[in-house]
């Protein structure tokens, strides 16, 4: 069975979306448990992808292909996993702040978070502080992630933190900020719980924030 897992992990790393469902099917047929396939085959593969991406050894399109490959296998596994086994590691609500329409970085963070088995609610761009508050009330995330690519829109992050405080829900979640002009200093100043300089860092930080 461990041979299966090693091959599955390789398929995820190599983005072999054509063959993974066949092999996953075969593994299940030979008695492998769905949860074990996920934990010992697919996730180790995505972890390697994550390290290589952070080290600058993999391209984003390759990472996305790996994520698609894992998803293809997950289509088969999901119905077989128990509720707790299928549960995501955490929920993130993400959006680009009001007045800002940049979304490539945010989309990258979303895709990598999903690859790391977070549930992500992507609100899109130009999200007002009030809309962020409503989304937090609705989805009850562990983390609220905000992105801004303009110095002119960064202040909206502070406004959103304040809006969450005024709604009495600031303490229920962690706040993560990012975007080219955003800095650790700025994040600290506005009372965010974390800052990440790039998408891979965002996933790491999100994981770390869950443990706090």
């Amino acid at each position: 069975m461990s041979d299966f897992y090693a091959v599955l992990a390789e398929m995820v790393i190599n983005g072999n979306v054509e063959e993974i469902t066949g092999l996953t099917q075969q593994a299940l047929h030979e008695g492998a448990r769905a949860h074990a396939i996920l934990e010992e085959g697919l996730l180790p593969g995505m972890n390697v992808v994550g390290w290589r991406f952070k080290a600058g050894d993999m391209f984003i399109p390759e990472v996305l292909l790996s994520a698609s490959t894992m998803n293809a296998a997950m289509e088969l596994l999901r119905p077989l996993l128990s509720a707790s086994e299928a549960a995501p590691v955490g929920t993130v609500v993400i959006g680009t702040v009001e007045g800002d329409i940049h979304n490539i970085g945010k989309n990258l963070v979303t895709m990598l978070l999903e690859g790391a088995r977070f549930k992500v609610v992507d609100l899109g761009v130009d999200i007002t502080p009030r809309a962020f508050v409503e989304a937090v009330k609705e989805h009850k995330p562990d983390i609220l992630a905000m992105s801004a690519l303009l110095t002119t829109t960064m202040p909206k992050m502070a406004e959103t933190v304040t809006a969450l405080e005024e709604a009495g829900i600031r303490d229920r979640l962690k706040i993560l900020v990012g975007g080219a002009p955003v800095t650790q200093e700025f994040g600290d100043k506005i009372g965010a719980d974390g800052y990440a300089a790039n998408a891979a860092g965002a996933v790491e930080k999100a994981r770390a924030l869950l443990e706090k």
């Binding site: 391209f59 984003i60 399109p61 329409i101 990258l108 002119t152 202040p155 080219a180 998408a199």
Partner: protein, 481 residues
């Protein structure tokens, strides 16, 4: 070399047939797939002009005849006026001018060497520096100040431009309010709105940033600018691999199509509008998703855009001379040199970002401006090429000096030395011994010294007291709102 009389058009990557094909495919894209314009006014204007509009999707399918009509009505020559007329920039054919970088938010501090945010003082110092650098032709508002109320940031940028330099001024507005404030300030400097129309002392740009999508802010600014009749830059900035396909040709196709879509709208609003097409696209770094400002592919995409601009007979706002280096270092040197040379030799008329900027368009450096001034000079010399004629062939002189002679003492040598040889101020051509004796100077250190010297000593012709006061009043009013 006459730095004010540079001509490009020495390099092209497409055959005429390929350029025609790019144009045909651009029209096809706009006609069949269409372009999104996130503005109700724009959709109405297009519908009235006969385009097919899907209001729910804000999608316009543009008939090719509208695009061709728009192009045919674009003037071939656009003069951007400067406070001092000898610095007027004449955009036509393959004339080439170099200008500053826009719009970073950080500055490499000259004292500490560390990164800091831009300030109001930088808004005054950068133009003063550029005023004294001979190979930089125009000043585009370069540093975004962070120590003023946000709504006053662009007005401070524009005020600093007029106060600090007599060279031609342009600006990227982030809202129509900023553009209108800029026009108001330009009118004061020009001496009235009629005078501004005669001699346009300011030029704004609007850009398309996503695949075939003009966002609300840029369309809004474009529509209002079109009505003013001031020369307007309309361009596109696709990123190959993210907002455009990864192949350079497809990225240039999108760059071209998006630009044509914007120009078509502007010309429907104002058929006489002087338009400058713009190209700022590059590749995305597919390891990080970052915009690669220093990529050589940017220059390739720009070269194709310059070739299309010459095919259309419209001036172009080009891009070249950037680097993703974080310091004025070796990477900065080769990325900038290579990129600028390619764009200039392709005939980019108004090459912005040609000097001063580092690190993904985020950072400015005073010493980098001084270094890039020299790069602009060298590129200018390359563009000037080989002068032909009897005096330059110097056959009589060669015969006179004869075999085994030398030319050092000839009057001809002294006469043509300065115009034929580019004389760098920074690049070190001394022997190693001399260089060591002088302290083994590195070029970034030398450039910093020069920048400091210029800032200490150089003062351009001041604005009159009245004009200066009126401009400051506009800013005070904006800050008080």
């Amino acid at each position: 070399m006459d730095i004010w009389n540079l001509r490009g058009r020495k390099l092209r990557f497409l055959t005429d047939a390929q350029a025609d094909d790019l144009h045909a495919k651009s029209l096809e894209l706009l006609r069949t797939t269409g372009c999104v314009f996130k503005d109700e006014r724009a959709l109405r204007i297009f519908a009235e002009a006969g385009a097919q509009v899907d209001s729910a999707k804000q999608l316009v399918r543009i008939p090719s005849r509208l695009v061709e009509e728009a192009l045919s009505r674009c003037p071939k020559r656009v003069v951007l006026a400067a406070r001092n007329p000898r610095y007027d920039v004449v955009l036509e054919e393959d004339r080439v001018y170099f200008g500053t970088s826009t719009v970073p938010i950080n500055v490499l501090d000259m004292e500490t060497g560390k990164l800091r945010r831009g300030t109001r003082q930088d808004c005054l110092d950068f133009p003063r520096l550029i005023d004294a650098l001979p190979y930089i032709h125009f000043y585009k508002g370069t540093i975004y100040p962070s120590d003023v109320p946000q709504k006053a940031a662009v007005p401070w940028m524009i005020y600093g431009a007029y106060a600090g330099t007599e060279k031609q001024v342009s600006c990227t507005p982030f809202s129509i309010g900023e553009a209108l404030a800029g026009i108001q300030m330009a009118e004061i400097v020009a001496g009235g709105s009629a005078e501004l129309k005669k001699r346009p002392l300011i030029c704004f740009n609007v850009l398309c940033t996503a695949p075939l999508t003009w966002n609300a802010t840029n369309v809004g600014i474009m529509l209002d600018l079109a009505e003013t009749g001031l020369p307007t830059i309309i361009g596109s900035e696709p990123q190959a691999g993210t907002t455009a396909p990864v192949t350079i040709l497809a990225a240039t196709l999108l760059q071209n199509a998006e630009t044509l879509a914007g120009i078509t709208l502007a010309k429907i609003v104002n058929p006489d509008l002087p338009v400058i097409m713009g190209a700022i696209g590059s590749i995305s770094d597919l390891k990080t998703g970052n915009f690669c400002s220093g990529a050589v592919e940017l220059a390739l995409m720009n070269s194709v855009a310059c070739q299309m601009s010459q095919r259309y007979g419209i001036p172009i706002y080009a891009t070249g001379g950037m680097s993703d280096a974080k310091l004025p270092d070796i990477q900065a040197g080769y990325e900038k040199g290579m990129q600028l040379l390619i764009t200039a030799m392709s005939g980019g008329n108004y090459i912005h970002d040609a000097a001063g900027m580092l690190d993904h368009c985020l950072t400015l450096s005073y010493e980098q401006y001084v270094i890039d001034n020299e790069i602009c000079g060298m590129v200018g010399r390359a563009l000037s090429g080989i002068s032909f004629g009897d005096e330059f062939m110097a056959l009589d002189l060669i015969n006179h000096v004869g075999p085994t002679g030398n030319f050092l003492r000839e009057r001809h040598t002294l006469q043509y030395l300065r115009s034929e040889h580019f004389l760098p101020e920074l690049a070190n051509r001394k022997s190693r011994l001399d260089w060591e004796a002088e302290g083994c100077r590195d070029i970034a250190g030398l450039a910093k010294e020069k920048a400091r010297e210029i800032l200490d000593k150089h003062h351009p012709t001041m604005l009159s007291e009245d004009v200066d006061k009126e401009l400051k009043q506009i800013i005070e009013r904006i800050e008080a709102e």
